[in-house]
């Protein structure tokens, strides 16, 4: 699906987002009135203690889950107004994903995994763009390999390339480097940063790692389902500092 042309400088936004799980005594307010705008062409990290609602926020933003109340927009489109089919097409055409693990279809080669969203849409990849993406992630010589023949870091880079290939409005990554050793993690994060700086992508990443957050342009801190703080141009040190004050 194509989104309305007026490209504001906000790629995605959440307004008064509330997500309640369960009923009665067991009720959990995973998101408790979250409002935030993710600027276009920016790499934003979401941080917070375990159970603070990071994943929930990411999932509702990405159209994988619905809010109990509030409003989510991607590229100016209100996700609440879309049915399941439209949401699926939105994810296919306008959203990229990098999960913590199991990102790839084991029966497909790296190249096939990268172009998967395009294949699903039944369109051909823009070869030039594909070459550029592949080069950026440094996978040119691994394209015909199956996921089982790739290292964990390579697998995550394939996933990142897949997220980029359809030039989506926004890419969501949930702890993408969480399962990687620090060198592979650094490679992946470096690549994601280049995608934002060099290719003009918008990325939202959930992480609990201050080093990872250091690659971002800005950090949002969540606690108990609320945004409690923010930080621009973070460094691992500044993030750690802020986490300490929040934690204490």
């Amino acid at each position: 699906m194509t989104l309305a042309p007026p490209r504001t400088d906000v790629a995605a936004s959440i307004l008064d987002g509330v997500k309640v799980y369960g009923a009665g005594d067991a009720t959990v307010r995973a998101l408790d009135g979250v409002t935030f705008e993710f600027p276009r062409g920016q790499f934003t990290a979401i941080m917070g203690p375990s159970g603070s609602g990071k994943s929930t926020m990411l999932h509702t933003l990405a159209g994988l889950d619905t809010l109990t109340s509030g409003r989510v927009e991607i590229g100016g489109v209100d996700l609440g107004s879309l049915n399941d089919r439209e949401l699926t097409m939105l994810r296919r055409d306008n959203v990229g994903f990098v999960f913590q693990a199991f990102n790839l279809v084991p029966t497909l080669t790296a190249r096939e995994n990268i172009v998967l969203p395009l294949s699903i849409a039944g369109t051909k990849p823009d070869e030039q763009w594909l070459q550029q993406v592949v080069k950026t992630v440094g996978l040119a010589d691994r394209l015909s390999h199956r996921p089982s023949e790739l290292s964990g870091g390579q697998q995550q880079r394939v996933a990142a390339a897949r997220a980029l290939v359809s030039q989506p409005e926004i890419i969501f990554a949930d702890e993408p480097s969480g399962n990687l050793d620090s060198r592979s993690g650094a490679e992946l994060l470096g690549f994601m940063r280049r995608a934002v700086k060099g290719l003009g992508q918008t990325i939202v990443m959930v992480t609990h790692d201050p080093v990872a957050a250091g690659y971002a342009d800005g950090v949002v801190f969540l606690a108990d389902g609320r945004i409690v703080d923010g930080l621009d141009d973070p460094t691992p040190e500044s993030v750690l500092e802020r986490m300490k004050t929040l934690g204490g």
């Binding site: 790839l104 969203p117 039944g122």
Partner: protein
Amino acid sequence: MLRTALKGVIAHKVRLGLTSLAIVLGVAFVAGTFVFTDTINARFTTLFDDVYAGIDASIRPEQPEFGSAPGTIQGSLPEALLEAVASTEGVQAAAGSVGGFAQIIDAAGEPVGGQGPPTIGGSWIDEPALSALRITDGNGRAPSGAGEVVIDVGTAEAEGFELGDDVRIQTALGTETFEVVGLANFGTESNLAGATMSIFTIDEAQRLFGLEDSFTSIDVVAADGVSAEELVERLTAVAPQDTEVVTGDQQTQEQLDGFTEGLGFLTTALLAFAGVAVLVGAYVIQNTFRIVVAQRTRELALLRAVGATARQVTTLVALEAAIVGFVSSAIGVVSGIGVAAGIKAAMNAGGFGVPDGPLTVEPRTIIAGMTVGMVVTMASALLPARKASRVPPVAAMTETQAPTSPRSLRKRTISGVAVTALGAALLVTGLTLENGATAAVVGAGSFTVFVGISILAPVFAIPIGRLLGRPLPGITGELARENTVRQPRRTASTAAALMIGIALVSFVSIFAASIRASVTDTLEQSFPADLAFSSTNFLEGVSPTVESELEGLEEIATVSAVRTDFIRIDGQELNVGIVAADVERMYDLRPTTEIAEIGEGMLIQRDVLAERGWTVGDVIDVEYPAVGLMPTTIVGTFEDQTFGNYIVGTEAHGDDFFGDAATIVFARLADGVSLDEGIEATQPVLAAFPNIDMNTKADQIAEAEAQVNQMVALFSGLLGLAVIIAVLGIANTLALSIVERTREIGLLRAVGMSRRQVRRMIRAEAVIVAIFGAILGVGVGIGLGWATVSSLADDGLSSFALPAGQLGLWLALAALAGVIAAAGPARKAAKMNVLSAISYE
């Protein structure tokens, strides 16, 4: 351990549910067959017990040891014998009776019955002890003169005849009209197992059956204190030559044996189909247990880690199989009763009257059903159970998906080829065997071929799966293709289950097409007659009256009758054609000696002669039903096998057989008479014989085709069960694979695959597996068909035909079956919640 096993079963109840269904269906068919045949046996035993209940002994003409239809008495006794019998000491009452063929014609002019239970004609016996027929108050009276008949209450009700009605009845003399003066019950039943009964006065019966001044049987009640054996002894003293004295019990047994023999074939056939269903079920069970064990690797490893021995793990899986086997077998046995009712209804619909009454469930049925179900389930779970025991405890700590080690394909290829070759050898041996073991050896050979191909199937799975998946468009097609080849063993054994059903259905199609082609060939070549007449009644042929009346028509130049009966050579019962010399002008048997020249000799089919090692001019001992052993000279050979492999002349040997009804009567039209004129001219003759069918050559061919098509429909229907079980297997495997792939499907959905595309992907996967199985099946079916047809070339199956259209249809149906099998799993996969699928452990 039992509790853990029970919990295991309950935890996987949905997965095991489909598996159970595979067992239930197979067991139900086995149990159903037993219930059905036991029921028929029980009903007939009761009925014949009733028939002969009052009779202590009977004198009848000596019966041939072979060659006669069960229940029909050949020959006759002089009337005068009755007096001698009645005055014998120890005889309380004696009555003579005659029986013969009589078929009631319904209001629409169509013959009633005749395609199953007999159409009986007989004489009324006044002595109640000697007859099971009873006319209750208000149902009229016994026949007392010419033109009167008593019919059974059941037939009267079914056909709407009432007291005082006129009814047309056909006998060998033609059709006459009688007044219904009484409606008789059969003991307490309204009908004798679907038979129709027409009872006349003794004089009328003697006239109608051509038995003036004679009886077919004299039945006797013993005086008090005289045993049946004593009575037989005394009667034997007065009985003339060529007669025999038998007890009532003996006659009951004879009648039952006749039915059991006919039933034996049906039982074997039904059990064979049940066996196929069970075999296919075994594949499904094995596959399910293998997948379930694979998916539970972690759980089983955990058991090992906390101290369960390898043996205990095996026991656990085996116990689960036992529970599943027990529950499903029990359901199967109960469903078998329904299956029996279904078979009964189907037989009734097909015109074979199965007596009403309760279904008989013998303990043997329950034991057999339970045993088959349990043994098959346990045996199928054996390999997976052993595999489960080899799960190392450390697997509990590692990733769930153990990488599938690519097994040595070479080893598999070698063993698969070896087993297939062994099966083929058995099959060929079985087909060339001359004795009764044929069916068993052929069955074992086919089974072995199936196993061999199943072993080979994983070798083909990858190339064939890729090839079949190629035309499928888009990413869904590609994913489906890759999914079918990622677990070649699983795909192969799922497909192999379908292979069996499709192989047998294809075999039937090929066999039938070959019969059709051969029959058409034969008829085209050998049928120069203009018209052929045959009877629709199973037990009675074409009356000689038809023959003589046709001869009397000026439109008809020649009439020639062919009869078929049995002879015995070296103790082996063989079909023999008894032909008139002028048959040659009607039907071309392609003999080396003219029929007119064969005299007292015999013609033997060319290939049979060679096989038996005889030569023309040999004198062989032939046993004829009416006269016994007689040396007969082989005077020549012939080709056409329509009337059997042995042919004798009517003139020389006609009297060596009983009965004078013809199997088929051919007629040649006089010069200048058109076919339509000829048909028209025969109508008055046929009017008196409603059960006679007149056929032109085209009709004959069409009829032969219709029969073959009916056979195909019946067998395909029965084999359909095996296909259904295999489809369940596909559905089961898919459902299990989808659970395994939950996270992958979640991922596809997250990156934008629509529900519809997910469904399409799963469906495509099922279709590939189904077509894979069908291709294997059609291949094996062609092999089986070719082997069978070529080995039967001697028996008249001259052409091997490949019904491409029908085989194509089976492939298409298999694809459709794949779509159906995929429906449930596809819906389930498409409905998955994306988020929970992604985070599925």
